[in-house]
Structure formats: structure tokens, C-alpha cells
């Protein structure tokens, strides 16, 4: 994110009633907010809706923003909470577990074998992320995509620092195991391909 952006000035102008100043904030932060929502929700449409709603909420509650904290942290924490809520609602609607496991993968997604061997790990990472519990996923995203410290994650998600640590540990373990499991699948497929065809 561009640090030269005068967010404090923009926030001040919004508080004085200048709506256009918030438009500049949306323009500036749209990519990080959208990317966070996409990583959490897994589809462009849901990411768009969540990012739009996050900016609406930020605009509505801007008076609650504490100017001693970085604006980006505050804004991303709004998006994070919204995404977690959306995931919970999705859970309440009893979506099929298989669908949750695969929600990040589009119908035209490439074969996992091709993904790994060609170096296109993006889809595989998204799939593995999707398999994580909601809060573990959010902690991992804030840590590795947004370079949040453990204290910042704890502030943003309103959980204790030890909870952040244990969630991070669990998420990393899960990601590693998922990766290995994908590799095993690939090896099995390769093994099957090299077996002589039965006549």
C-alpha cells in the first residue's frame, strides 16, 4: 500500500461532511480490501459484495475511527469481521461440506497436478485456504498477505494474542498437511498413469 496517501487528511474531510474525500479512500484501498475478501470468500462476486459493504460500513462508522491507529488496519478489520460473518451465515445455511472445501475453485480450474508442476500455485493455495476454519484462515491471511503483527491481528479480530498464536500454528499445520495430501494425490495419479493398461 502506498504510504504517501494522505489518509488522515481524507478522514478529516469526511468528518467535515465531504463525501468525495471518502471516494478517494475507496479508490486507494479497493485492491487490499477486495483481495482480503476474495481470499476469505473465494469468488469474485462475493468478494465484490463484501468489499463494497465493508466500505459502506467504514463510511457509516467513520466517527468511531481512532486516528492514533493506522487507517488501513481499521478498514481491513471491518472487512475481516464482515467476511467472518458471511462465512458464519453460510455455515448456518448448512452448505454441503464438499462445497465449502471446493468453493475457491472455479469450474474451469486447472488440474492440481498441472498447478503444481507448472508453478501456478495460486489456485492450490486458495483451495487450501478454503479448507481452513474461518478464523484460522483470517489470521493467516492478515499475517502473510498484509504483514499484520500478532498484536495487530489481536486488535483487528478482538481475540487474545495467545489465541492468535495458536490459530496461526494450527493454520500453518493445516496448510502443510493439505499441501502434502495434494502431492500424494498427484503421485497416486502419476502412478496410475504409468501402470500398464489391462486388456
Amino acid at each position: 500500500m502506498d504510504t504517501s496517501f494522505a489518509e488522515a487528511e481524507c478522514v478529516k474531510q469526511v468528518l467535515e461532511g465531504n463525501e468525495d474525500a471518502f471516494t478517494a479512500i475507496v479508490e486507494h484501498f479497493q485492491i487490499p480490501v477486495y483481495n482480503l475478501c476474495y481470499r476469505m470468500l473465494g469468488t469474485p462476486q462475493e468478494a465484490e459484495d463484501a468489499a463494497q459493504e465493508s466500505f459502506i460500513r467504514a463510511y457509516r462508522y467513520i466517527r468511531r475511527y481512532d486516528s492514533s491507529r493506522p487507517f488501513a488496519t481499521w478498514l481491513l478489520s471491518i472487512a475481516a469481521h464482515y467476511c467472518i460473518d458471511q462465512q458464519r451465515k453460510r455455515h448456518l445455511l448448512s452448505v454441503d461440506l464438499d462445497e465449502i472445501m471446493e468453493f475457491g475453485i472455479m469450474d474451469d480450474s486447472p488440474d492440481p497436478e498441472k498447478v503444481v508442476t507448472t508453478g501456478e500455485q495460486n489456485e492450490l493455495i486458495q483451495k487450501n485456504l478454503a479448507a481452513l476454519p474461518v478464523k484460522d484462515r483470517m489470521v493467516l491471511i492478515l499475517k502473510y498477505w498484509y504483514d499484520f503483527s500478532e498484536d495487530e491481528i489481536s486488535d483487528a479480530l478482538e481475540i487474545t494474542k495467545s489465541a492468535v498464536k495458536s490459530r496461526l500454528h494450527r493454520a500453518r499445520q493445516h496448510m502443510a498437511e493439505q499441501w502434502n495430501s495434494e502431492e500424494n494425490d498427484i503421485s497416486r495419479k502419476e502412478g496410475r498413469q504409468h501402470e500398464p493398461q489391462a486388456i
Partner: protein, 183 residues
């Protein structure tokens, strides 16, 4: 050493001392489970670092401005409804207070019924006088007026249908979702 400790060293970010690094290295050489975990996490981390940033389609800010306007309109409507219902509730409370303070609920009820009856009688009388007036008018004028009134009524229905159709069309246009396809 506890196997869990190695797992912690593999998965946590905390920097290791030279001695701890050596211990971990030796352990990884002999333990296939930890070796697999380490490989899996290092590859995942590499994947995370090389993952592309997802970006919204062009026009995100413009779509946000439209959404904000819709939200503000909705909030205005809700605020107006709250004011109307609060006023009605206040009126109801005032009425109850008046009834209680005036002392007699029965007299209030009697006055209310008398007033309603008088209003109904006034309307009935007015209608019968109107009928007498219409009967005094020549039939050709009555028929002409009747046909003219039917025409006006039809025009009114057509106009009302057009207004409703136009309002629904505008509403549908506002509700139409923007294009979401990414990249």
C-alpha cells in the same frame, strides 16, 4: 526431546538459536513425519508469497458511489417511517392520557359515537340532495356528463398504470447488480 517441540520450531515464526537449528536439522534427517511437515509448510509459504493479488473489475469506486446513494435513500425512508410511527404512537398515548384524565371513559365513548353518527347523517343528507339536483337536470346533459366521466376514469386508470410501470422500471434498473467478473 519432545516431538511437539520440533513441530513448534518448524511451524512458528520465532527465530531459532544456533543450537536449536542444529537440533532441528538433525531431527529432520531422521524423522520422516517432521520432514514432510517442514516440506509442506515451506512449499505453502512459497505459494503464499508468490500468490497474485486479486483486483476488482474497473469501476469499483463508481459502483460503490451508486451503492452508497441507495443505502442513504433506504436509511432516509427508514428514518421517515420511524418519525411517522413515533408520532402516531405519541398521539395514541396522548389520547389514552386524555381519556384517563377526563375521568369518564363512557362519556368519551358516547361523544365519539354521537359525532360519528352526525357525520354519517350529514353525508347521507348531502347525497340525497345531490340525487334530487341530478334528477332536475335534462337527461341529455346527464348522459353526456356520464360518458365524459367514464372517459376521465379510463384516462386516470391508464395514467396510473403508466406511473406504476415507470416506477417499477426505475426500481429494477437501480437494483440491477454491476458486472462482477474478475480480471
Amino acid at each position: 526431546m519432545n516431538h511437539k517441540q520440533y513441530e513448534k520450531w518448524i511451524l512458528d515464526d520465532s527465530p531459532l538459536s544456533a543450537e536449536e537449528s542444529e537440533l532441528l536439522k538433525n531431527h529432520l534427517a531422521s524423522c520422516s513425519v517432521c520432514q514432510k511437515l517442514n516440506e509442506g509448510w515451506q512449499k505453502s509459504l512459497q505459494g503464499i508469497h508468490s500468490a497474485d493479488q486479486h483486483v476488482p473489475t474497473a469501476g469499483f469506486t463508481a459502483r460503490w458511489q451508486v451503492k452508497l446513494q441507495q443505502e442513504q435513500r433506504k436509511r432516509t425512508i427508514v428514518r421517515r417511517r420511524i418519525i411517522v410511527f413515533s408520532s402516531l404512537f405519541f398521539l395514541l398515548l396522548s389520547l389514552i392520557a386524555y381519556i384517563l384524565l377526563s375521568g369518564s371513559f363512557a362519556s368519551f365513548l358516547a361523544n365519539l359515537i354521537t359525532l360519528t353518527t352526525q357525520i354519517i347523517l350529514f353525508i347521507t343528507k348531502g347525497l340525497s340532495e345531490l340525487t334530487m339536483l341530478i334528477n332536475g337536470v335534462p337527461s341529455i346533459v346527464r348522459w353526456s356528463l356520464g360518458i365524459f366521466m367514464i372517459g376521465v376514469a379510463n384516462m386516470f386508470i391508464i395514467l396510473l398504470t403508466y406511473i406504476i410501470w415507470k416506477a417499477r422500471k426505475n426500481h429494477r434498473e437501480q437494483q440491477e447488480a454491476p458486472a462482477y467478473a474478475e480480471e
